[in-house]
């Protein structure tokens, strides 16, 4: 598998976690992402800046009443990057399973391949 299948930015577990959180929503408040990802505001801010620079997330700042709020959303590029990254991760897992099954079945005649899509 080519290493280029993987997104270097998303190889970081924290960033992958943030992008996966945002994948299910149209937008989310900064505070919610911070709580769900279990990060400090400054740590999240740093990761969001990296993702924003890459074009994976958009940030909108505003006020609700007198309180400042920040909203974050995943861009189409970010969604594509996550999907191809997840597909690449899936392939690694499937390849490993197949290799394990082939190794195990050499003596037993098993078929291997225990489900999953695993298309590559």
């Amino acid at each position: 598998m080519a290493p280029t299948d993987f997104d270097g930015v998303l190889l970081d577990p924290t960033r992958l976690s943030i992008v996966a959180l945002l994948a299910g929503v149209e937008w989310a408040e900064f505070g919610w992402v911070r709580d769900e990802a279990g990060l400090s505001p400054s740590a999240l801010s740093k990761q969001i800046s990296t993702l924003e620079a890459k074009g994976y997330v958009e940030v909108e700042k505003g006020y609700v009443g007198k309180r400042p709020r920040t909203w974050v959303n995943l861009t189409a590029d970010g969604r594509r990057a996550l999907e191809s990254h997840v597909a690449a991760l899936n392939r690694i897992v499937e390849d490993s399973r197949r290799a394990g099954a082939a190794g195990g079945s050499s003596g037993t005649g098993g078929t291997g391949g225990t489900g999953g899509t695993g298309e590559g």
Binding site: F6, L16, A20, L21, L22, W71, N90
Partner: protein, 172 residues
């Protein structure tokens, strides 16, 4: 950074984390307690008002509910409106199970049909202050169990991991 392929166990862990986070985001619909309280009080007022002020108030009460629902829907569509309602996210429509959407539509239709049928066949309420009693039950349920009901609906409404595009089990 991208020169190194993650080993299989690390990849599997990353996939589990992705799925876990997506589940969290799908279950993120929640709102402030005051929203349930307002809706509960309005439902109670709508149902109880005719018992105390006569049938003449019915259209006014219905219009008040329509206005409230429209305002609620409008707020849900904007970030600031949602923030006022205490909603930190807006879950993507694609995350909602089509089966749940169909079931919800059928349920609403059945409730409306049942309501019309009752209005047609019942000549007045079967006992005095029936609207008030119904208002207490429905409004009270919403006020006291609104959050729990919402969580149950969330889990029904969201798709399972195998339905998710680009999630652990598939790609597209």
């Amino acid at each position: 950074m991208s020169d190194r392929l993650p080993p299989a166990d690390e990849a599997a862990r990353a996939l589990r984390d992705v799925e876990q986070q997506r589940s969290r985001s799908r279950a993120s619909t929640r709102e402030s307690r005051w929203v349930s309280v307002v809706f509960g009080l309005v439902i109670f007022a709508q149902l109880a008002a005719p018992d105390f002020f006569g049938d003449g108030v019915r259209p006014w009460a219905s219009w008040a509910v329509v206005v409230l629902l429209l305002a609620y829907q409008t707020m849900l569509r904007t970030r600031r409106g949602s923030a006022l309602l205490g909603r930190p996210t807006r879950v993507r429509r694609e995350e909602i199970s089509p089966r749940f959407t169909a079931a919800a539509r059928i349920t609403i239709l059945l409730v409306l049909v049942a309501g019309f049928a009752l209005a047609l066949f019942l000549d007045g309420p079967p006992f005095p202050y029936m609207g008030t009693a119904l208002g207490v039950v429905l409004g009270g349920t919403l006020i006291f169990f609104g959050g729990t009901l919402q969580q149950s609906l969330n889990s029904l409404a969201t798709r399972g991991p195998r339905d998710m595009p680009g999630a652990v089990h598939g790609s597209h």
